[in-house]
């Protein structure tokens, strides 16, 4: 396997980590105004992700940085082409990060309500936009022979992309509900579980619709000797098993399987995309690939060495942070946020 392929996989792994970890953070942020019936309940929900959300968010920064370092043309075309969509996402991420830290630092109920809705909006935007972005990447966008995006913002608003956005949005909300049911105790945990049960059929419906639409809209299923198709089917199966565990009241298993579902969703999309990194809808020859978009072998070698040393260290201390805060939160616990 060459380094270009390795970095394609690594970036897929970084996005998987991001969607898995920030996925439930976004879900919690979206559910918090509704499931937390009072201020204490909302604080309980936020404190469940309190020690982790900031570290989780770094996954997307590193995914972005890795894209820049390993595939500069991918980074340049994607970020300049999806400009306004990314602006919306940035606005969401900025206000959300500040809101999480600021909402409990004043007693005024209006202050808290304002930041709570900003947490909601700041979680909703990226949760939707990442799905739409990946759907557009695999569906294809107008890219010319010089690797420039030549469409407009409206090219990004197509039914397949909107469906993709709804898939990640609904999946992250479900993921967040499962996380809350696992991470808290009492009424909030019960409400979270009930929400998960109610939400699950909608997620299944959207996901299956998206997987089916992938067949006519993209060429993913024709790639890699049918591997993406297998992964798509496995993704659907994993999601169905989530429902089974929900029914059996196995919270931990349901959450774990939801994580598997998210990982399979990314794997299915990325394996179908490979070796391309952005599909051109104008001419297949214009598609960016891991070879045309990449850095030099020297640079790839440098970042591979750094990643080989640092990734295990990061994984170890992030895992440790989850171990420290493994206890379920209750209403009478001390709450930082």
């Amino acid at each position: 396997m060459d380094l270009n392929t390795l970095w394609f996989i690594l970036i897929a792994v970084l996005f998987t980590g991001y969607f898995f970890l920030e996925g439930f953070d976004y879900g919690v942020g979206i559910l918090m105004p509704f499931l937390g019936k009072d201020d204490k309940g909302r604080r309980l929900a936020l404190n469940a992700i309190g020690p982790h959300w900031d570290g989780n968010e770094v996954w997307v920064l590193v995914a972005g940085g890795a894209t820049f370092a390993a595939f500069p043309h991918w980074y340049a075309t994607l970020f300049s082409g999806f400009y306004l969509a990314l602006l919306l996402m940035l606005m969401g991420l900025i206000v959300r990060a500040v809101a999480l830290e600021y909402r409990s630092k004043d007693q005024n109920p209006r202050w808290r309500a304002l930041w709570d809705w900003l947490i909601f909006a700041g979680s909703l935007l990226p949760a939707f936009l990442w799905g739409a972005a990946f759907a557009n990447i695999v569906r294809g966008v107008p890219i010319d022979a010089s690797m420039h995006y030549v469409g407009s913002f409206w090219n990004l608003l197509n039914p397949y992309a909107l469906l993709g956005g709804l898939v990640t949005l609904s999946a992250f909300i479900l993921h967040g509900a499962l996380f809350l049911s696992l991470k808290t105790e009492g009424a909030l945990a019960d409400r979270a579980r009930n929400t998960a049960v109610q939400l699950w059929p909608a997620v299944v419906l959207l996901a299956v619709a998206f997987l089916l639409a992938t067949y006519p809209v993209t060429d993913l299923f024709a790639q890699r000797g049918g591997l993406p198709l297998v992964l798509a089917v496995l993704c659907a199966v994993a999601l169905l098993v989530v429902g089974l565990f929900l029914r059996l009241r196995r919270r931990g298993w349901a959450f774990a399987l939801m994580g598997v579902t998210i990982a399979l969703l990314v794997s299915f999309l990325m394996s179908g995309l490979f070796p391309r990194v952005m599909v051109s809808s104008l001419d297949p020859a214009n598609s960016l690939t891991i070879y045309t978009a990449s850095s030099t072998p020297y640079t790839l070698k440098v970042i591979t060495i750094v990643a080989a040393i640092m990734v295990p260290v990061v994984l170890a201390y992030q895992a440790w942070s989850y171990w420290i805060f493994r206890k379920r939160l209750r209403r009478d616990d001390l709450l930082e946020y």
Partner: protein, 449 residues
């Protein structure tokens, strides 16, 4: 306005705004870590209360630093895609490594520190805030490695066929002399910022005779040391940096001194009216020989003027205007150095008063310090404007011009984002200042959680 102008405005806005929060994060993380270490060492609950008091302000500041830092990671691709294509092979690596090495460390351990007071043994808990401080400093180093490549491109070769710069030596990038002036300069500026921040707020409480003024007397002394070491070192390194930059970017130094004609010995222009089109100063106040002395440590020595450097660069890079905006660089340089000198003076007075135990009686000085909190912000903002404007019209000095780095997006698109950033950033600044002043005025809580 054109995409180029709007993109530059937006970059200036988002970056200067981001850097309102970075220096305090750099310095205050170290100060809080020292306070908690003192708590662990002495078992004195007062240090714990100080740790929590300053830690709270640290967090309010940190949140905005992180939030606005996300933009930094995205905007090279969004607004400067052609630049990103051109330098990505060199510039992307330090950015990715910054995330992997520094952001993860900083963010993960801040979460552990904030929520882990009751969960970790004391010493281990103190270690987590040291890791946050380490992460912040590492982050500064890596982003400055990337930035230094724009000022002094090293360790690369131009691949004409691919139309880009390609990395040939990662070691050269890390050892770039430019970053080894810039990084300590920024780090000690951060220490200075934290020093004056804590001095200002402590002075406020000492004037108000808040209960537990002992806490603020101790904070004051530690902050005084920060301010003294920080401002002195940042100033000294800044001086060496100026001498060095004259070697690699003589244009920037000539512009920041409004030095139009080559002279030996060269006079130092203290203040002047600048006529860039005419290529001269309309009036000026000068000190003979002083510029030669500042640059070469002796009272003579030829200092190239703007017009000669322009001619020289035309020969080297072809016809075109190679001068940065002289008035901007000239005045930002004076604001930075003026604020810096004032901070050194204030830190020395603070040292004297603490030393002679006259602090509490020197009420005029305590009244002055809360206002001095603005000084490090003036110095760091004008310092960045100076160094980045002084590099113009280059985005990578001598290699790529700024106009060739901009994304092929429409001006209207960038206008939308510029307005969105301006609005959201203004609103967040209001919230930040509100919370900062609220918590800064509070008396540190007795040990409850």
């Amino acid at each position: 306005m054109s995409t180029l102008v709007l993109s530059r405005l937006q970059f200036a806005l988002t970056t200067v705004y981001h850097f309102f929060f970075v220096p305090l994060t750099l310095g205050l993380s170290i100060l809080v870590a020292i306070l908690e270490t003192l708590y662990v060492r002495t078992g004195d609950e007062k240090y714990k209360r100080m740790t929590k008091f300053w830690g709270k302000l640290f967090l309010i500041n940190f949140a905005l630093g992180v939030a606005t830092g996300i933009v930094q990671e995205f905007q090279f691709g969004m607004n400067w895609s052609e630049y990103s294509r051109f330098v990505g092979d060199v510039f992307g690596a330090p950015l990715a490594i910054e995330g992997l090495l520094a952001f993860f460390l900083e963010s993960t351990f801040l979460g552990i520190w904030l929520f882990g007071w009751e969960k970790l043994p004391k010493a281990l808990h103190a270690a987590t805030i040291w890791l946050v401080a380490l992460g912040s400093s590492l982050s500064a180093y890596w982003i400055l490695v990337a930035n230094s490549f724009m000022h002094q491109p090293v360790g690369y070769t131009l691949n004409e066929a691919a139309g880009r710069a390609e990395m040939t030596s990662f070691g050269a990038l890390l050892g770039n002399p430019h970053v080894w002036y810039q990084f300590p300069h920024v780090l000690f500026a951060g220490i200075t910022t934290a020093g004056f921040f804590v001095l200002g707020i402590s002075a406020y409480h000492l004037i108000k005779k808040s209960p537990d003024s002992e806490l603020f007397r101790r904070s004051f002394t530690i902050a005084m040391i920060f301010a003294l070491i920080g401002s002195g070192t940042a100033g000294f390194i800044g001086h060496l940096q100026g001498q060095y930059v004259y070697k690699i970017q003589p244009m920037k130094i000539a512009a920041s001194e409004a030095h139009w004609e080559t002279e030996d010995p060269a006079k130092f222009v203290v203040v002047a009216g600048i006529d860039q089109q005419g290529g001269r100063n309309t009036w000026e106040l000068t000190v003979p020989r002083a510029l030669s002395f500042l640059l070469f440590n002796r009272w003579s020595g030829e200092v190239k003027g703007l017009s000669d450097i322009q001619a020289q660069m035309e020969q080297e890079y072809g016809a075109g205007y190679h001068m940065p905006p002289v008035a901007v660089t000239f005045w930002t340089f004076r604001i930075m150095v003026g604020a810096g000198a004032l901070m050194i003076l204030l830190a020395l007075i603070a040292l004297y008063l603490v030393w002679r135990r006259k602090l509490v009686r020197a009420r005029w000085f305590l009244h002055l310090l809360p206002f001095a909190m603005i000084l490090p912000y003036l110095a760091t903002s004008s310092g960045w404007i100076l160094t980045e404007m002084g590099r113009q019209p280059w985005i990578v000095y001598g290699v790529l011009r700024t106009e060739d780095g901009v994304s092929p997006v429409s001006g209207a698109t960038v206008l939308i984002s510029l307005l969105a950033f301006a609005l959201v950033y203004a609103a967040l600044m209001v919230a930040n200042i509100y919370l900062m002043s609220k918590y800064a005025r509070q008396v540190p809580a007795a040990e409850t959680h």
